[in-house]
Amino acid sequence: MRASLLLLLPLLAACAKGPQADLQYIAEARSLAAEWALVNQQAAQGKLTDAYVTAMRTSLQQQANTAAKALTQPDSDYAREMRAIAAEPLDAAPDELRAHSDRLKTIEDQLESA
C-alpha cells in the first residue's frame, strides 16, 4: 500500500493546481524576460545581426504569451506581471524587461521557500 502511494506521488505532483503548479511558468517567464533584455541590450551595442534580433524577439514574446496563458491562477500578481511582459513592445528597454524579471524572481523565491 505504502509503495503504491509513493509511486502515485510524482503523478499527483504533476496534476497539482495553484501557485506551486505555476512555479515552472513563473521561472520560464522570469528567464524569458531576462533573455529578451539581454538580446535588446546587445542589439543596442551592435553585437547582433538584424535577422537574429527579429527572430529572437518574436520567439521570446510568443513564449512569454504561452507561459502566461498556461497559468492556473490567472488573477494572481504574477499572472499580471507575466501578461505585462508579453504586452511589451519587441524593442522594449532592457531595464524595463529586467525589472519584470526581477519582480518575478522575488515571487519565485517566495513560493520556493513556502
Binding site: Q24, L38, A55, L60, R98, D102, E112
Partner: protein, 411 residues
C-alpha cells in the same frame, strides 16, 4: 594507421558530439547550478567512450552491427520491445533535431520556422541520398567544428578557472532546498541521457560496418572514441561554463537555443554570433541525420534487410524507404506545431528509459569470446561496462519520477 584518416576521425567525432539536447541542457545546467554539473558531463563522456569503443569493436571484429546481434541475444519478443522503444526514443530525438535546425535557420535568416523545417528536412534528405556514408559523416562532423567558437568565447570572457576546475570534483552545491536538490538530480539524469543517447551506439556501430572496419581499425576506433568524444565534451562544457558566468547572475536559464549563441556574441559580436549559429546548425543537422539513420539501421538490421549508405539507395531499397519515411515522420511531428524544446525534454526522458536495453546486449556481445575472440572485453572494459550499465539503469528508474516532480527540470 593513416594519420589523415585518424585526424579526420577525431575531428568528425569532436564536431559531431553536440546535439540539440546537450546544447539546451548544458546552457541550463550552467545558469542554474553554476559549475557544479561539469563533473557529470565528464562522467557521462567516459560512459559513452566505453560503450562507443565497445560498439565499434563489436562491428570491427564480429562484423555485425549491434542491432543484428541484439535480436539474437534478447530473442524476438524482448527484441521487438527494444526495437519499438528505441524507434520511439530516436524518432522524438530526430524530430527535436529537425526542429532545432529550423530554429537555428530562423535565427540566421529570420525566415519562417515551419518553412525552414521543410527546407532543412529536404536538404538533410538530399545529402543522405547524394552522399555516401563517409562523406555524410565527414561533412557534418567537420562543419560542426564551428562549435569551437564556444570554447574560444569561454576563454575570452575570463571565467574563474579555479571554480571551473572545482566543477570537475563530484559534488552537489551546498545549501540546496529539497526542490533544488530534486532539480539537481534531474539535471544529472538528463545529462547522462543527453551524452549517452542510444542512437549514438547504433550509429557508431553501423558506421563501423559501413566503413568496413576490421581488427586493424581497432586502434583508430579507440582513439576516435577517447580523444574525439573527449574533445567534443569540452565544447559542451564550454557552453555550460559560459552560461554559469554570463547567464546565471542575470536570471537567464536559456529557454531558447538561440540564447546560447549569445555566449559567443558577448565577447565577439556579430562574427561570434554567426560562427556559433553555424556550429550549432551543422552539429544539430548532423545529429538529425544520425538519429534518422540509427532508426533505419535498427529496423533493417532487426528484420535482416539490406542496409547501409555504403550502398546506393536502390541497392538497399527497404532501408532507403525506411529513412525517408522516418525523416518525413520527424518533420510531421514538427509541423503539428509542438515546441521543439518540449520534444527535447521528451527525447531525454524516453532515451534514458531505453538506455539499459540498448547497452545490455552490447555488453554481453563485447564480452562473448565466441564472437570477439582475443578482442573480448578485458578486466577494465568489463568493470567499466557493468559499472556504467548500473548507472544508466539507476538513471532510468529515477528519470520519470524526477521529470514529474521537477516539471522537466523547471523546478
Amino acid at each position: 594507421m593513416n594519420p589523415l584518416e585518424l585526424t579526420l576521425g577525431i575531428m568528425t567525432a569532436v564536431g559531431g558530439f553536440v546535439d540539440i539536447s546537450e546544447l539546451v541542457f548544458a546552457g541550463k545546467a550552467g545558469s542554474t547550478f553554476g559549475y557544479a554539473l561539469i563533473w557529470v558531463f565528464v562522467f557521462s563522456t567516459v560512459g559513452i567512450m566505453v560503450f562507443g569503443e565497445m560498439s565499434g569493436r563489436v562491428a570491427a571484429v564480429a562484423k555485425q552491427p549491434v542491432f543484428n546481434l541484439m535480436r539474437h541475444r534478447l530473442g524476438l519478443k524482448l527484441g521487438i520491445v527494444t526495437l519499438i522503444a528505441s524507434l520511439i526514443a530516436n524518432l522524438i530525438t530526430c524530430a527535436a533535431e529537425v526542429g532545432g535546425v529550423a530554429l537555428i535557420l530562423n535565427y540566421l535568416t529570420d525566415a519562417p520556422y515551419m518553412l525552414m523545417a521543410i527546407v532543412s528536412t529536404a536538404v538533410l534528405m538530399a545529402s543522405m541520398w547524394v552522399l555516401p556514408f563517409k562523406w555524410i559523416e565527414r561533412a557534418y562532423g567537420l562543419l560542426g567544428l564551428f562549435m569551437v567558437t564556444f570554447a574560444v568565447a569561454l576563454v575570452a570572457i575570463h571565467p574563474p578557472w579555479h571554480q571551473v576546475a572545482g566543477g570537475l570534483v563530484p559534488h552537489a552545491p551546498a545549501g540546496l532546498s529539497t526542490r533544488e536538490m530534486l532539480n539537481f538530480a534531474y539535471f544529472m539524469v538528463a545529462i547522462v541521457s543527453a551524452v549517452m543517447f542510444p542512437y549514438e551506439a547504433y550509429f557508431y556501430s553501423s558506421g563501423g560496418i559501413e566503413e568496413d572496419w576490421g581488427p586493424k581499425d581497432l586502434p583508430m576506433n579507440r582513439i576516435s572514441c577517447t580523444v574525439g568524444f573527449g574533445l567534443g565534451s569540452l565544447l559542451a562544457i564550454s557552453i555550460l561554463a559560459s552560461s554559469a558566468q554570463l547567464f546565471g547572475p542575470i536570471n537567464v536559464d536559456p529557454q531558447l537555443p538561440g540564447t546560447t549563441a549569445l555566449e559567443a556574441a558577448t565577447p565577439y559580436g556579430k562574427i561570434g554570433l554567426v560562427l556559433a549559429l553555424l556550429g550549432m546548425l551543422f552539429a544539430v543537422g548532423g545529429a538529425a541525420i544520425e538519429t534518422c539513420m540509427a532508426n533505419a539501421y535498427s529496423i533493417a538490421q532487426f528484420f535482416g534487410w539490406e542496409w547501409g549508405r555504403h550502398r546506393k539507395p536502390w541497392e538497399a531499397p527497404r532501408f532507403t524507404i525506411a529513412w525517408i519515411v522516418l525523416f518525413l515522420a520527424a518533420l510531421g511531428i514538427i509541423l503539428t506545431g509542438v515546441d521543439p524544446m518540449k520534444l527535447v525534454e521528451f527525447a531525454i526522458l524516453f532515451s534514458i528509459l531505453v538506455l539499459p536495453l540498448t547497452y545490455l546486449p552490447l555488453l554481453l556481445l563485447a564480452g562473448d569470446k565466441s564472437y570477439m575472440r582475443e578482442h573480448v572485453n578485458g578486466v577494465v572494459g568489463k568493470t567499466l561496462g557493468w559499472f556504467y550499465f548500473a548507472v544508466v539503469t539507476a538513471a532510468a528508474l529515477a528519470a520519470l519520477p524526477l521529470f514529474l516532480l521537477t516539471s522537466g527540470g523547471q523546478g
